[in-house]
Amino acid sequence: MDVKMRKENGVTVVSPVGRIDTVTAPEFEKVLTGLIGEGETRLVLDLQAVDYISSAGLRCILAAAKMLKPKNGALAFAALQGPVKEVISISGFASLFKIFDTPEEACRQV
């Protein structure tokens, strides 16, 4: 699994590529907790290039969100599509997190 990162207006855009499943989730979680550990509080997950996200994936996003909560941080989704969008909406993440069409938009509003 490949994760690209860039920073825009103090917002870190994380763009994983491929699948976030049981196998790759721990690695992805490490990336996220690493970023938060470094003091990043505003994250945008750009899921444009993610084909699939399993419950393990959701769990690590949730864990990141929990870590951000005491730091008054914020986490938003951007560029959801296909099965990923479905999973996010079914799982109820949509009711808890902000979802944007593009990472740029997310950066402006987070």
Partner: protein, 694 residues
Amino acid sequence: MSLAPRSPESGSERTPRGSPQDKRANDVQDPFPGDRRFSGELQSRLGGGLAFKLALFILTSTAVIYLVAFLYSYVTLRKEILADVKKDALGVTMVTLGKIDNVLGGIEKVAAFLARDLSGEGRTAAVMIRQMEGLLQANPEIFGVAVAFEPRAFDGRSRYYAPYIHRGPEGLKRILIGGAEYDYFTKDWYQIPRELDRSLWSEPYVHEGEGGDLVATFSVPFYRTAAGERGLAGIVRVDVSLDWLQDIVSRLMPQRQGYSFLISRNGVFVTHPRKEFIMRESVFSLADATQDEELRRIGRHMVWAGKDFVPLTGSAFGRDSWMFYAPLPSIGWSIGLVFPEAELFGNIFELNRVILMIGGVGFLVLLIVIVVISGTITRPLRTLTEKAAEIARGNLDVALPEIRSRDEVGELSRSFENMKGALKEYISNLAETTAAKERIESELKIARAIQMSFLPKKFPPFPERREMDIYATLIPAREVGGDLYDFFLLDGDHLFFSIGDVSGKGVPAALFMAVTKTLMKGMADRDLAPSALLEAVNGELCRENETSMFVTIFCGVLDLKSGRLSCTAAGHPAPLLIRAGKDPEPLVIGQGFLLGALEGVTYRTTEIVLAPGDNLLLYTDGVTEAQNGNREFYGEARLRRVAAVHAAGGTASLVDAVVADVRSFAGDAPQYDDITLLSVVYQGADGDSRRRDR
């Protein structure tokens, strides 16, 4: 992993060498007693081994170097010897030629003096005879002297007048030559200088007189004035016996080193170690007899007063010889020195023999040294090989030979020792790990058994209830899955059913699932709306949930009398609602957040009314997200198509059909996630639909 220690039974198929009964077994089975391992060893000892290769390569390259050096020294020596011989031959020959020319020149001078004297007028015969005798007495090498006159030139009368004085056994002999039987005018000694009008040496000839000496004649024309005209008066003839010349030439070269010879202007042998050649054979007759064109060419060069040092290839002078030749300028003859190569290069040949012998002995020594050195190298290697083979058979307790040498072999041996230690350690670690893993696996098996025992597996569960039918299955992806389903009657009229999916898998997921299931079962109540139930369960789960685990849940309560269904979802895909005779459609439902993830989440209860025959198919994402070899998802659409076809067959048939279809879709692709399906069909308060179906 084959490195694992084998039990004695399994090890016997790779029998270690040396055990007698095994050897017998081998002999019986193998028609070729030298099995591969044995013949390999034999090969390494006799040939093909390191010693053999070393010997082959070193000896071959040494031989090449040796031969090149040998040939070079041979060729160089040869060249030098030839140059030396040529120089020596030239020197010796020139000295000899000088000696001969001295003698011949003296004779020429004497003859010329006599001729000049005879040219004077009024010499009487007596004076002439005295002069001739004086000449003979003064010149011991002269054999005879004649003064031959032209016809009538002596006294104007006689056709022949030629007094001849020569040495005989009783002193000088005086005769007159010339007459009908000896027409000296046609003899070479007279005719040739006469016609050429100059003095010259004749070809050698055998003297007619006693002894049959080999003789050459120097003839000088002399002139007188007769009738006022100066003209040729006759020829002075001086005969020289060639004994001394033969002597000088034959002594020119020590017998052992070769031989020398002298040829006349016609190429005829004047001297030659083979007496039968003298005056009989010539260079050209030998060339003709042996068909040797090269010799003929050399002969032509010789008689044309040429000088050279040439190899002789033909057999006439003895094969493989070199010849130096040079002319005797005064007489026009040629001297030849023949050097047989065997003599010329005798020293080289001797040297070569010694060098070859040294080379041969050196080769032997080298061979022995190589064999010994390679033996010291290969012996420990061979031992190591044997030990390594034993290690390969699993015997890690083999003692490796202690090699103290600091060379590569020693290093190799130490490496082997290290490897053996590492292997031993690795294997014991592996054994431990394997044992641990087996323990965990067996624990997991037990955990699964416990987990599965949580799930109701008796179908049909409520055979006495005709209002509904329910069927469910769970196919775990690993030993212990995170999925769950459950159903039970809250009271006589209310059926509770649920399906869920815990994030993650394995024991934690199973435990979380067990907790969730227990909580749900414990808290479910006829009067508690599903949303309220989930809120309560969520509250319990969130308490002290450090792991951020969560579970998606769909649950509902079916009023068996009215068909009213109250249900709610926590991040779980909506089930398919298959109304009797209609296409399946996802149940429209308000989604709540994942269960156990966040405290204080609220859920909504959705209520619909099921008609008899309506089927509700609950599933986890293990179904829709099953993947085939091309990483394509099974998908909801396909699920709906399959459900449409099989819904009418009843809950069990529907669930089994979907499972079968998912499996056929996935093919050999591994199952990533638990696959769980639960189908519940409402059959009316009094089991209408079921009766109707019948």
